[in-house]
């Protein structure tokens, strides 16, 4: 019943505020584009985190859902003119359906077997995507990829000439997924998923329908990932099966979440921001050295798995708590 002016509330609010203001101070579309990508990757990592983090099921094939969302919405857009805004919902739902189709048989598998199965599904899906040039009379482009029609400034179709709307859209998506994760963390489903991650047999004995809970998690994760795919499709406007449904996409999502701290609300966000920025910087700074930036990427993942398996969140959490305490202390002092 205290007032809301405690650091616990105003610090996050401040952060969101800063993020909202950024486009006012940064005019460079490139920086905005990169920042949109950063937020986007953080979003994808968070979406993966629902099944990979909370439920502890290591999916290595999330590229499939990005592709599903991207292709479904873009095909509807190109062929029947359906706005990607609606496409987001349909793309997300199709991805969720795919998540259920993939998850139903595979989620019975544990640990490494599940990971392998998701790799298998993703690879199979990618190969099919490459070999399918037409669905009915709709061209998917096969390996040539699919060009999303460019309409210029068409807000009703999620297309903008400026990068600012894309930035805000990514920010909104990220806030939604963080809000969702926050809710999930405190909800029945979240408790159930965590219980499954910690000990599936014990969870069963507590009356948890573990198979269903995992499936719901998989569907939710796929849904959000699919929605992300729709965003990607409108931002990049070119869908290439290998880039979008391939191992690089799938692995990247996982790496971000791991480095950030899987199973936590903000870990994947932090991981997404940290690694994407590092990736971008190394790529620009050392572009004359082939492979360096991915090498560093790999090394960072290795270092984190070895030394900080719970992720960056661990490093951020304590200083943040301290800051909150410090600010809290000051306020109290000031008040008295």
């Amino acid at each position: 019943m205290r007032n809301f002016i405690t650091p616990r509330y105003y610090l996050p609010a401040l952060m969101i505020f800063i993020l909202l203001l950024i486009p006012l101070f940064i005019s460079s579309p490139y920086i905005l584009h990169i920042m949109a990508m950063v937020l986007f990757w953080a979003y994808l990592a968070s979406a993966w985190n629902i099944v990979g983090g909370f439920a502890g099921q290591l999916s290595l094939g999330h590229g499939v859902y990005v592709a599903a969302g991207a292709y479904v919405s873009s095909l509807l857009f190109a062929n029947i003119g359906l706005s990607p805004w609606f496409g987001m919902i349909i793309g997300g739902l199709v991805a969720a359906l795919l998540g259920v189709i993939v998850g139903y048989p595979t989620l019975r598998l544990r640990g490494a077997y599940y990971a392998l199965a998701t790799v298998g599904f993703a690879e199979g899906f990618r190969v099919i995507l490459i070999n399918t040039t037409k669905i009915g009379s709709w061209h998917t482009g096969g390996a040539e990829g699919f060009l999303v029609p460019l309409l210029g400034d068409a807000p009703q179709h999620m297309q903008f000439m400026s990068k600012v709307p894309y930035y805000y859209l990514a920010l909104v998506l990220l806030l939604i997924i963080v809000g969702f994760s926050f809710w999930l963390d405190r909800s029945k489903l979240g408790y159930y998923l965590t219980a499954i991650r910690e000990d599936e047999d014990a969870a069963l004995a507590l009356g948890i329908n573990t198979a269903r809970a995992k499936l719901i998690a998989a569907a939710l994760s796929a849904f959000f990932t699919g929605v992300g795919g729709v965003y990607y499709a409108q931002l990049i406007r070119y869908l290439e099966p290998n880039a979008i449904a391939g191992a690089i996409m799938s692995n990247q999502i996982v790496f971000l979440a791991i480095v950030g701290g899987r199973g936590t609300v903000l870990g994947p966000v932090i991981g997404g921001i940290f690694l994407t920025i590092i990736g971008e910087m190394t790529r620009i700074l050392f572009d004359q050295v082939m492979g360096l930036h991915l090498f560093l990427y790999g090394i960072i993942v290795v270092l984190f798995v070895i030394f900080k398996p719970r992720g960056l969140i661990e490093l951020v959490e304590k200083p943040y708590e301290k800051l909150v305490k410090m600010l809290n202390g000051r306020r109290v002092e000031g008040a008295s």
Binding site: G56, L58, L60, P105, T106, R108, L109, R110, G111, A112, Y113, A115, L116, A117, V119, G120, F121, E123, G124, V127, I128, I130, N131, E198, D199, E200, A247, N251, V254, F255, I258, V289, M290, G291, L292, H293, L294, F295, Y297, G298, I299, I300, V301, V302, V305, I306, P309
Partner: protein, 293 residues
């Protein structure tokens, strides 16, 4: 005749796949880790073998003497300094996947390290026998593939003998069957892990060496083979050595024979479906059992 040719070819390639999968299955059987860096190790061996051939004129098959121990060492050190700490930290975790992630990270790091150092060129050791073939009427058998196949079989045989007959091989199997009791038998399990990872890596290396006279090495060549190796070990049963060999032959045959009736890309899809079917319906594979080792 065409079918016969493709059967022969399938068997020859299948042997090499089997050799690669054997290392993967060994590491899983003993350490319960799926090594996502297996393909990267294969690539390293291919590149090393190529450069030894290129610079010193060393025939790839002779370079085994140098590269196999080197790969063993690489695997040994990788396990000792990267995987071991992760395994130790995850001892009490019910389903440890840290090691799996670690190997995935390692794969990315190794691939790009090689890219940085050696560049991305496609390399193939063009030996005297590289393009040679044995022709019996319209049937032709590729000589380098034949060599690769025979080598794979010999290595598989030796490896099997090693597991059955030697003290260390026995200790490895024991560790795979029951790590806890292996400790009580005076087996230095941590060292056995390192050796197993070393041997697994060396097997990947051998597969790389036999490939280099007819296949092209480049930093991402591992990806071509690693998925196939995953499929094979699941088919043969994770942890099963002969399963890996048989699985390799099956995949080789499917690839070769099925491609006569459909396009090569659809063969790939067919194989993925077979893989998923096995994972879902018979995850223990053809030969796997909990007591494999």
């Amino acid at each position: 005749m065409g079918v016969l040719s493709s059967i022969i070819n399938g068997i020859l390639m299948g042997g090499v796949y089997g050799l690669l999968a054997m290392g993967l299955t060994l590491i899983f059987g003993i350490m319960k880790i799926i090594n996502f860096a297996h393909g990267a190790f294969l690539m390293v061996a291919m590149i090393l073998s190529y450069w030894l051939w290129k610079i010193m004129g060393l025939d790839p098959y002779l370079s085994i003497i140098i590269i196999a121990p080197l790969m063993f060492l690489l695997g040994y050190l990788t396990q000792r300094f990267t995987i071991k700490p992760v395994l130790d930290a995850e001892k009490d975790v019910r389903e440890p996947i840290g090691a799996l992630l670690l190997t995935a990270g390692l794969a990315v790091a190794i691939e790009n390290f090689i890219l940085m150092v050696f560049g991305a060129d496609y390399l193939m050791a063009k030996t005297a026998y590289s393009g040679a073939s044995i022709n019996i009427s319209s049937l032709s058998i590729s000589v380098p593939r034949l060599y690769a196949f025979v080598t794979s079989l010999v290595v598989a045989f030796l490896f099997y003998q090693f597991l059955i007959k030697t003290e260390l091989g026995r200790a490895m199997r024991a560790t795979g069957q029951d790590r806890g009791v292996a400790l009580l038998m005076g087996i230095n399990v941590s060292k056995v892990y390192s050796i197993a990872f070393g041997i697994g890596t060396a097997l990947a290396g051998l597969a790389g060496i036999v490939l280099i006279p007819f296949y092209y090495a480049h930093p991402s060549v591992g990806a071509v083979f690693i998925t196939k190796a995953f499929i094979i070990v699941v088919l043969g049963g994770l942890g099963s050595v002969h399963g890996a060999l048989v699985g390799g032959l099956i995949i080789g045959l499917i690839e070769s024979v099925a491609a006569q009736y459909m396009t090569a890309t659809w063969t790939a899809i067919l194989i993925y479906f077979a893989f998923l079917a096995f994972l879902l319906l018979k995850p223990s594979g053809l030969f796997g059992s909990r007591y494999e080792w």
